[in-house]
Amino acid sequence: MNVCRRRAVSNTVVVVLVVLILIVAAVAVYLATLPPSVTTTTATSTATSTATSTATVTSTATVTSSSATTTTTSSTVPSTPVYGGTLIADEEFEPATVDPATSNTVAGLAIVDNVADGLVGYNWTTQQIIPRLATSWTVSPNGLTYNFTLRQGVYFVNPATNMTMDEFNATDVQYTFNRVLGQGNGYVFATAGLNMSTFHIYDPFHFSVSLNAPFAAFISTLADPYNAIIDKSVDLAHGGTVNGTVNAFMESNLIGTGPYMMTQWVKGDHITLMRNPYYWGPKPYLDRIVIDYRNDASTRLLDIKGGAVQVASIDPNLIPSLTGSSNIKVQIIGLSDNIAPIGLDVQLFPTNSTLVRLAIAHAINYSFIDSSILNGFGISYAGPMPKGLFGYNDSISPYQYNVTLAEQELAQAGYANGNFKNGTALPTITFAYPLDWPSGALVASAIQSDLSKIGLQVNIVGATDVSYGDYVSLPFNSPQRPQMLAYFWTPDFQDPADYATPSAAYGWNDGYSNPQIEKLGTEALSTFNLTLRAELYSEITDLTLQNAPIIWNYQYVGYAVYTTNVHGLIYSPLLDGYGFDWASVWLSPS
């Protein structure tokens, strides 16, 4: 009897094992049939923004692939937003801190933007500045002094107790401004020339402050999450913040006045946001948002396909894997403010020649990079400003791929076919790119191949953070510096001022200096007439295109991957990939 029973049990276990093996085999087959990491995919898109509560989704995105086709078309959604529900979103990178004054990652700032209010903010649909904690403001005729009226009846909310704390007032603004100036993120206010000695509080809801020089982008800097207003007494109750040091409590806890409260942060796992019941603005739809930080791209893909999350950060090269998932939308929802240019060192041979730089600019096949490597999630633009930002002039054409022109320019420079006049080849150009540049190796290889067609030999070097930092810190004439250096530029605030001034922007770290551009940039900063200001930036665009200190390469296209029961996702170009205005998002009953 014993033997029989034992055998019966053993057989059951074995049958289970057989099933397991079959399942594993099925998985292996599935994985083997997944599309390759990069497919030859083209995309056409209409970059408009989503409506928050209208009856149809206004954006359409079509992604076609040689191996797969994912099409998202207009669909009817309930016309009335629904309150309630929990939304779970998978994102790749976890913030290091949520202190507005020290947070320097998009992931952290995206949390800040939903939990704490700045004096102003953005309507990301129209890209217009809108009031948040300041209801109105005026600028003195000389552009130096700003007078603000603050919103009354706004309270900071303690997420632990779900109770209101202090009422927001001008002393919180003064404290926040002083605090941020003493911290890592104070450079934005420092650039704007904020002079705190002029900060004057008239009453709890009125104050004025002056700048050292006119800075037309000052209001834009106030919309930056760096400058979100914190509760003075909370910081002081936890030891306050000494300039240059961090407050451990503030690094991990964020108490604000925004639409959501940050109620939980399980490090290495997730952050939970709960609706702020005392929010001064329209009541947010969702009860709870859980931002899951998942490093692994395949896991994020499985999560959204398996229905565990409603929004997921999916790498462009995995988009074709969503084919057949009728409940998932891939939607291009805007143009990112993030750009991926390549600086050409204007002090090193041979990129010190304008004609060589122009030859490089015209030798690159931009459309191949945009469509075949980036799967349509990148577009060419005529920098320094990205498309969609105020100051961008659509009538100016970006660099065009023209091998003949590139060869002519190289010949005019005296290096026909990449050779000196005596027939010896030009030295190899070094092209360094950061290793964490998505698809960077492929883009760099494509450019290497393009340049070889006009006779320029390029050595591409993937750089770690440290070696990349070393490159950047080397003097411009150092032979160790690469002639070509790829970088990302994510703006601190939504204004051309953060792109268009060579001496002000890290991104122009290529030794380029042009007094004319500096003059135009400075003039633009003191020009409050938007039309005139835009003209000045157009001139800057023309000049940079003529001199080619930077190959503008491409600008990212903002897209979102989410399940069809998610509505009202509004994309923030400033906080690319993470910056959703969660207050406008709602879930339809599934």
Partner: protein, 354 residues
């Protein structure tokens, strides 16, 4: 074996760990100081100001001669000052304390899977030698042992989460729940609060059934993935099988059969107990080996443990954290090795302890 002999062996084996740990500390110190051309800059992070870099250099005696710097490094380690991460500005040791329980819990549950499934498969294979059950167990074991951890993890996730919806997709707890509170009680007016950081244990201590159910369902997939990776279930199966086959041929087993004992008594009481001796030491060693795979498993399953912390540290080039986790992993290996030796000595009386 005399009890005194065993105690002496344990003390001796424990003392032997000290020079090994010293060597580990020395190695991590060399990695931290010598490999990097500018240790202060590496520790501070590339975005740090020069004044902060200088401050760190002075604080950690980076510009001192190596022996002097090593002395201060040792003193700092022993006094609990493992540095501050440049990204989060938090003391590394407090982060290690926050992340370590998750890893320990995951490893322990994976060990349970390895022991239960590995031994079961090994026994089934041995008593059905050369039959299809044997072949199947061996193929299964070999497949598991050969599969890289990321593949095992994705396969487990794909099958049990995506296809079957049996288990959640990672994380330690349902995001709508709060971590279990642990045990709270008062002794003579003194409030005692015990939180181990092991969610299953804390849920039991606090009597929180919802958290208990959730934490168990969340740990199953990562623990299973960990257990089938590397030398987990596969190696245990093969070892138990071969030892069982060896023991089943021994005279004392034949004697037991001849005495008319039931087959289950012969197998489980006489054969398995003896066959498990070598397997036990391997299983103990596995505890350390599992940590090699835990980096990948935790990353894929979003498990907030020391492995995920290591990945983040590597991605951010967070030097203090990298050194700390290297040290932690090394300590695990040293301790697991010592435990394996001690277990072996306790289980097998033939082992010469002197």
């Amino acid at each position: 074996m005399k009890r005194g002999t065993l105690v002496r062996f344990i003390i001796k084996r424990t003392l032997l760990c000290i020079p090994v740990l010293f060597g580990v500390v020395l190695l991590t110190f060399i990695v931290a100081r010598v490999v990097s051309p500018d240790p202060a800059r590496a520790w501070a992070g590339i975005k740090a100001s020069q004044s902060y870099v200088n401050q760190l250099a002075a604080q950690y005696h980076i510009n001192s001669p190596l022996p002097e710097a090593f002395y201060y490094y040792l003193v700092s380690l022993l006094s609990g000052n493992w540095g501050v991460t440049p990204d989060t500005h938090q003391p590394v040791l407090s982060l290690v304390e926050a992340y370590l329980p998750a890893t320990i819990e995951l490893t322990l549950v994976a060990m349970v899977f390895i022991v239960v499934i590995g031994i079961a498969l090994g026994v089934i294979a041995a008593i059905n030698k050369d039959k299809w059950q044997d072949q199947l167990s061996r193929v299964t074991a070999l497949t598991g042992a050969s599969a890289p951890p990321f593949l095992s993890a994705l396969a487990v996730l794909f099958v049990f989460f995506y296809l079957l919806h049996w288990f959640p997709n990672g994380s330690r707890l349902d995001p709508t729940l709060s971590p279990p509170a642990g045990l709270n009680f008062a002794i003579g007016g003194l409030q005692v609060h015990i939180v181990t950081g092991l969610y299953i244990l804390d849920s039991i201590l606090s009597g929180n059934l919802v958290d208990l159910t959730s934490s168990i369902s969340h740990i199953v997939l990562p623990a299973l993935a960990l257990a089938i990776s590397f030398y987990g279930i596969g190696v245990t199966t093969r070892l138990v099988r071969s030892d069982m086959l060896r023991v089943l041929g021994e005279d004392y087993v034949r004697t037991a059969k001849a005495k008319g004992l039931s087959r289950s008594v012969v197998i489980f009481k006489h054969a398995l107990r003896n066959a498990l001796i070598p397997a036990t030491t391997i299983i103990a060693l596995n505890f350390a080996t599992l940590l090699g795979g835990i980096v990948v498993i935790e990353d894929i399953f979003n498990w907030p443990g020391i492995g995920r912390f290591t990945v983040q540290a590597l991605e951010n080039l967070d030097y203090p954290a990298i050194i700390a986790t290297t040290l932690i992993f090394a300590i695990f290996v040293v301790v697991a090795n010592a435990l394996a030796d001690i277990l072996y000595a306790m289980l097998d009386p033939r082992v010469q302890l002197e």
